[in-house]
Every structure is written in structure tokens, then in C-alpha cells.
């Protein structure tokens, strides 16, 4: 699929002048209400992740055993769990660990992967061949299997999850970027500046990089959704972040048995809902960004 991406100078997003870019933005927003919705969820998620502790009414990790399993009330809008911890506060706080893991892993993975992808695609040769094979080897690990192997090797913890997600983001990023650069390398404007005697480094920095930046953003946005999902899944399986950490996956798995026993939906509805909503938001945003930034797909969705 990736090989099909074609970009030319005039279509490049960044090449547009300032004013028309802003106008363009508004026009795109109007035409993509779903994407805007996703953007709002994403912004909300980041805000909760950063400012959560100041917004949350209670400390998410302080027990109140006398208030065990309390249903939703004014004091506890989402109710309390088995230790009497406030579920609203835990749901808010759950954004933080997701955000930390997702951004750290994706930043490391996509940045590294993109760099390697660009080098590999632009220079080709033995380096490219080696990187390709390594990438294929990496891509051969089914996601969960690689995480589990990392857990067997490093023990469970935040670092292990970040490493695992970063490896996938790295491989994904390098592959997409390599394919893109392979195409860009032969674009007329690159050929033109090469014929004018521009150095390779200059071509990469001035022509290739600006043109692939939007795609890096698309890849990163998509990867963040996946990273949030991965963290939640691992924590749900009991092999993710440390138990007790306010994390949606942990809250879902800790509480669903007792929620069923007591018939109290509030114990799982908010953590499960939060994961679904945030992943949905990032998926919508990622899709819209791809539609907007990848001209080949432009028009096919709208």
C-alpha cells in the first residue's frame, strides 16, 4: 500500500503559503466533523493526562474501606471500588499512565523509525537491505508474542511496555517512510535540485524531510491509538503496569469479576468506556489526517 503514496511539490501540505494554510485548515475542519470530534477526544485525553491530578476530586490511590463498592452519588459521581477508591478520580488518573506510555513509546519508536526509514530509502544499498531484513524479522513477531517475550526477558513493568510498543512503532515508521522516500527520491523537484548540484544532505533536509513530516504525524497519531490499546490489553491480562496503578486496563480486570458478582455496572463501565472512547478518538483523528495529508486518498472518503 505504502508504495502507492505519491506526492509532488505542489501537493505538499507544508509548501502552501501561511494564510491559505489556515483557511485550508478551517475548510478541512468543516468538511471533517468526525475528525474534529476525534481531535477533541485526543485533546481531552492529553489535558486529563497532564492536569488529571489537579482535576480529580480525590487521590486515586487512597482507600476508604468504609465506602466500599458505593454506587454513583454526588460525592462519588462514578461510585467507588473495592478499596473505596473514587472511580471518577481513577478514570481521570488512568489517562496519565496511558499518555506517558503512548507518547514515550511512539516518540522514541516513530522518530527512530522515521530516521532509519529515510536513510534506508534514500541511500539504498547494503544498509537498506540489512535494515529491510531486520524490519521483516521484527514484523514477523505477532504483537502480543513480542510483548510476552519481553516480559519473560525483562520482567513486567512500564519500561517493558514502552520498549515493546516502541519496537513496533519503529518498524512501522521505518517501513512507511522508506517507501515514501523511494518515491520522493525520483520526484521531479528532487531531480531538479540534484541537477542543480545540491548536496545529498541538503536534499534530504530541504526537500525530503518537509514532505514526509505530515506522514510522520499520520503514522504517529495512528500508533498512539494502538499504543493505548496495547497498554490497556497488557494491564488487563495482568502483565502490564504495576497493579494498583490507576490504569483503565487494570481497573477493568480488577473489577469485572466482583462487578458481576454484585451486579454493579459502575465498576467496569467507565474504565472500559474510557479505553474505547480514546482509541476511537485517535483512530478518527488518524484517519482524517491521513485523508487530508495523503492526496491520493483525498476525495475518496468525502
Amino acid at each position: 500500500m505504502a508504495t502507492a503514496i505519491t506526492l509532488s511539490e505542489d501537493q505538499s501540505w507544508t509548501a502552501l503559503p501561511e494564510r491559505s494554510r489556515l483557511k485550508d485548515l478551517l475548510r478541512i475542519a468543516r468538511r471533517n466533523p468526525v475528525g474534529v470530534f476525534g481531535l477533541f477526544i485526543a485533546i481531552g485525553f492529553v489535558v486529563l493526562g497532564v492536569f488529571g491530578p489537579f482535576i480529580a476530586p480525590y487521590d486515586p490511590q487512597v482507600s476508604d474501606v468504609e465506602n466500599q463498592f458505593a454506587g454513583p452519588s454526588w460525592a462519588h459521581p462514578f461510585g467507588t471500588d473495592g478499596l473505596g477508591q473514587d472511580i471518577l478520580s481513577r478514570t481521570i488518573a488512568g489517562a496519565r499512565i496511558s499518555l506517558i506510555i503512548a507518547t514515550a513509546a511512539v516518540a522514541i519508536g516513530v522518530a527512530g523509525g522515521s530516521m532509519v526509514g529515510i536513510i534506508s530509502g534514500y541511500y539504498g544499498g547494503v544498509v537498506d537491505s540489512f535494515i529491510q531484513r531486520t524490519g521483516e524479522a521484527g514484523a514477523a513477531f505477532p504483537g502480543l508474542f513480542l510483548y510476552l517475550m519481553l516480559i519473560a526477558a525483562m520482567g513486567q513493568g512500564v519500561n517493558t511496555i514502552i520498549t515493546g510498543i516502541a519496537i513496533f512503532a519503529f518498524i512501522g515508521g521505518s517501513r512507511v517512510l522508506r517507501a515514501l522516500v523511494l518515491v520522493l527520491k525520483q520526484a521531479t523537484f528532487v531531480e531538479a535540485s540534484r541537477s542543480m548540484g545540491a548536496s545529498e544532505t541538503r536534499i534530504v533536509l530541504q526537500h525530503i524531510l518537509p514532505n514526509v513530516l505530515p506522514i510522520i504525524i499520520v503514522v504517529a497519531t495512528g500508533a498512539i491509538g494502538g499504543a493505548i490499546l496495547a497498554e490497556a490489553a497488557l494491564s488487563f491480562l495482568g502483565i502490564g503496569v504495576e497493579p494498583g496503578t490507576p490504569s483503565w486496563g487494570i481497573d477493568l480486570s480488577d473489577n469485572y469479576s466482583i462487578a458481576a458478582t454484585l451486579g454493579k455496572w459502575h465498576l467496569i463501565a467507565f474504565s472500559g468506556g474510557a479505553i474505547s472512547l480514546v482509541v476511537l478518538g485517535f483512530n478518527l483523528l488518524g484517519d482524517t489526517l491521513r485523508d487530508v495529508l495523503d492526496p491520493r486518498l483525498r476525495g475518496t472518503i468525502n
Binding site: 500500500m1 531484513r133 531486520t134 502480543l144 508474542f145 510476552l148 517475550m149 482509541v279 476511537l280 475518496t300
Partner: protein
Amino acid sequence: MWRFIVRRLTFIPIIGIIISAFVFVMLRAFPQITGDPAVNICGMNCSPERLELIRHELGLDRPIIVQYGEWMGDVLTGNMGTNYYGGLDISQEIVRRLPVSIEIMLLTLVFGGTIGITFGIISAVMRNSSLDYGLRFFAVFGQSLPDFFLLVLLIVIPSILWNYSAPIGGYVAPWDDFWTNFRMFVPPTLILSIGGAAGLMRLTRSTMLEVLRSDYVRTAQAKGLHPRAVILRHAFRNTLAPTITVLTFTLATAFGGALILEVVMGIDGLGAFFFRSVIQRDLPVVQFTVLYTAMIVVFINLLQDVTYAYIDPRVRFS
């Protein structure tokens, strides 16, 4: 065509060596991080002599490179030996769980493929109808809802509404008792296939739309061909290549999905076996499972490339 296949085949040993070295280094080279299996087996009350004895019995007292070499020998001959906890023949353990996991993955793939491609074509052909919007809505949600959450709901909701729970007592082959097998596997695999189906549907839809706009389809339409013939004979074939990509990708992720399904639903398949082995650090099992699974995926990718080359001759020369 053959040259292409041979060229791709030569990559496999290289990839295999990279993977196996990675797996071995990760799991065996740093016992101070990984935890020493001998310590775990010996537990407390462990005298240094007994610890040495266990190390020796597990073969952990030999140089790391020798261990790797022996492991590679075992990998090539398929002699997986025995696991740490139980001394069980690993290949037997895997073989007896194979039907469970194969059935799960096959069903997931078949459901995902059928639903995804069918809905994708319908959605593209009936573009901008309310059905199209409904299906696209399903696709977006299907890609976002975590499968473990859906599986939890699959256990909870039927029990509320119909007081129903899946059959118990271990794996039953479909030819022994079709209905039991059906109840055990079909509902969860349908759930599991949603994610793949959603992705496939969106891809089929967009490729289909593009193909429908292309000149040759327009020509075919202009010729007065029946729309169904246009779609099936001309348009569909051209959506195959990207569809196969996504299908193979789905197969790779189905490994993980099968694991989650087995763990959550309490079915004893390969995934659950692997999960348990990781938790108890049964390294021989982890090593072999990861390596072989990865190699299976590599082969699937090879098949995919070959199919590509068959469908679209341009690939062979790229």
C-alpha cells in the same frame, strides 16, 4: 516467477538467524535480569549445592554460546526437548493444543475475511447510502473497541439475558460434537474477527471505489456490461492484492487475538500455554514458541509476496 520465489526464499535463513539470535540473547544472555530459572525451581531452603545440581540438570552451567549452538541444532531438527516445569515433551504439548488454536485462527480469519470483503464491496457499491454509512460506522467502531472488553461483555451479557454460558470440559473437536464445538468457538471468534473485518472492510471499500472510477471499469460500463459482471469480473480482481496484504496482517494479529481469547475464555490452546509459560518463565517453551511463530509469519509473508507476483506481474520486476 521462479527466480522471484527463489530470491525471496534466500531471505528466510537470514531473517531466521536474526530472529533466533534476538530471541536467545533476550531470554538467555542476562539471567540477572531475566531471573535464574534454577533459583525459581529451587525456591527457598535452597542450598548452593542443590542449586548447582539443578543448573546442571537444566544445562544452564554451560557457556552461553554452546547453549545457543545446541538450541539452534534443536530448532533445525525440531527436537524441542522438555520444559522446565514438568519435564514435558514440548512438541507433544504443542501438537495437542494445535487444533484448538488453529480452529480459533481459522474461524477468525474466515469470519473476518468474509465479513470484511462482503461489507466492503456492498459499502462501495452502495456508496453514500444509509447502509454505507451504517457499515462505515461499524468499521470505525470495530477498529476501536478493545477485543478483551468485547470478550468480557460476551461472557457477561448472554448470562444476564439468557442465563447462558459456554460449554465446559475442555476441547471437543467439531467432528466429535459439532454443536458443542460451535458454541465454544463461534461466538468468541466472531467477536475476535471484528477488528480485522473492520480494517479489511475499509480497505476493500476504498480500493473498490478507486477501481470503480478507473478507466477500464468505465469502459466496461460503457460497453453496457451488467453492473454485477463489472464488479465481480473486473473490479474485484483488482482489489485483491491490497486485500491479501490486510488478510495476512490479520493472520499475524490473530495469534495475539487467539491468545487473549484463550486466556479470557479459559480455553487451553497454544496461546494460553504460551502465556502460562511466560508467567512461570519456562524459557524453552517461550523460545521455541516465539521463534516458530515468527517463522510461520515469515512464511505467510512469503506466500503473500508470491500471490502478489501471481496477481500483479509488475511486482516480480520491482
